[in-house]
């Protein structure tokens, strides 16, 4: 099951956020939550890099709690894709890689009206992303 998705650029600007299943919400303001999320990612990155016994290449991949899993994909250009799912979801990173190529590059990077660093407001992107997420095998199944 897919909960939600955050896309940040390398400066920490939130470029896009969407949610599909979110039982818990509204405890902190959305803007603060996004800052907290980005700050946590940066801390995890440096934590992983320092703790790793050998040289890392991709570094942080995911973490799991007892209720959800956070999957992370960072492109060499510094774009950060963060997707929360149930803990049993498989191959989420591959899914994010596809999302990057087939949806982000196609409908955001190629959109001449989109200014890099700004929030994506294109409704074409939103609907394509929604289709893409909903047709994924990860989307519907609630594993326990």
């Amino acid at each position: 099951m897919i909960n939600n998705l955050y896309i940040f650029d390398k400066y920490g600007n939130l470029l896009y956020y969407d949610e599909w299943n979110r039982p818990k919400k509204g405890e902190i303001k959305q803007e603060e939550e996004q800052k907290l999320m980005y700050g946590m990612l940066i801390s995890i990155k440096s934590f992983v890099n320092r703790l790793s016994p050998t040289d890392t290449r991709e570094g942080f991949l995911y973490y799991k709690t007892n209720k959800y899993a956070l999957h992370y994909l960072e492109t060499p250009s510094g774009l950060k894709f963060v997707m929360n799912t149930d803990v049993a979801a498989m191959n989420v990173r591959e899914f994010l890689q596809q999302l990057y190529g087939k949806v982000w590059v196609e409908y955001v990077v190629r959109d001449p009206l989109w200014e890099p660093g700004t929030e994506v407001t294109s409704s074409l992107f939103k609907s394509k992303l929604d289709d893409f997420v909903k047709q994924s095998p990860i989307f519907g199944i609630r594993n326990i």
Partner: protein, 179 residues
């Protein structure tokens, strides 16, 4: 509506269309800048740079390439990008002794088919857009480089040579208060 179908079909667009479009684009800029060649060169480079900033995402998403940590890797990736986007395979040569500088050499530059540079435009760096594109793309992956034309077939050289020189690694911006 499916853009996916048109995306990878290289046969659908004739290269000559690109060549002609680029040609009229350059001449239009020449007129807009009142034939100020230096200004035109800068413009072409900057346009390339803006293309590079976006094109890199397409490249990364297609190739799923990891971040480059040394210049030879960078050179290979640029070569791969030439194959994907221009369908040509430049040679990578003339490495500096400290391995931070190299040249891309190719003969079949698609931008310059049919082009004859008039003598009064001999300073025009017609293909500067490619240099800008490389610089913009690498900047997005934390590498600052200098990129410039060394040999130009429009100036009776036997090939096009683009020099790429590593300047420094750019650090990721990190929000205040973080390690």
């Amino acid at each position: 509506m499916s853009r996916q179908n048109t995306r990878l079909d290289q046969k659908k667009v004739n290269t000559e269309l690109l060549t002609l479009a680029y040609g009229s684009f350059v001449t239009q800029i020449l007129h807009d800048q009142n034939l100020n060649i230096d200004e035109v060169n800068k413009n072409l480079e900057r346009i390339g740079y803006n293309i590079g900033l976006r094109l890199i995402e397409d490249f990364l998403s297609r190739t799923a390439a990891p971040r480059c940590l040394e210049m030879r890797e960078t050179a290979d990736r640029i070569q791969q990008a030439f194959r994907i986007y221009l369908n040509i395979q430049p040679a990578i040569t003339n490495w500096s002794s400290s391995s931070d500088e190299f040249s891309l050499i190719f003969e079949n530059n698609p931008l310059i088919d049919f082009v004859e540079l008039p003598p009064e435009f001999s300073n025009l760096r017609y293909s500067a857009i490619i240099c800008g594109c490389i610089r913009g793309a690498l900047e997005m992956v934390q590498q600052e480089v200098q990129c410039f034309l060394v040999q130009d077939q429009l100036k009776s050289d036997s090939c096009t040579e683009i020099r790429v020189k590593f300047i420094r690694r750019l650090e990721d911006a990190i929000p205040a208060g973080e390690d």
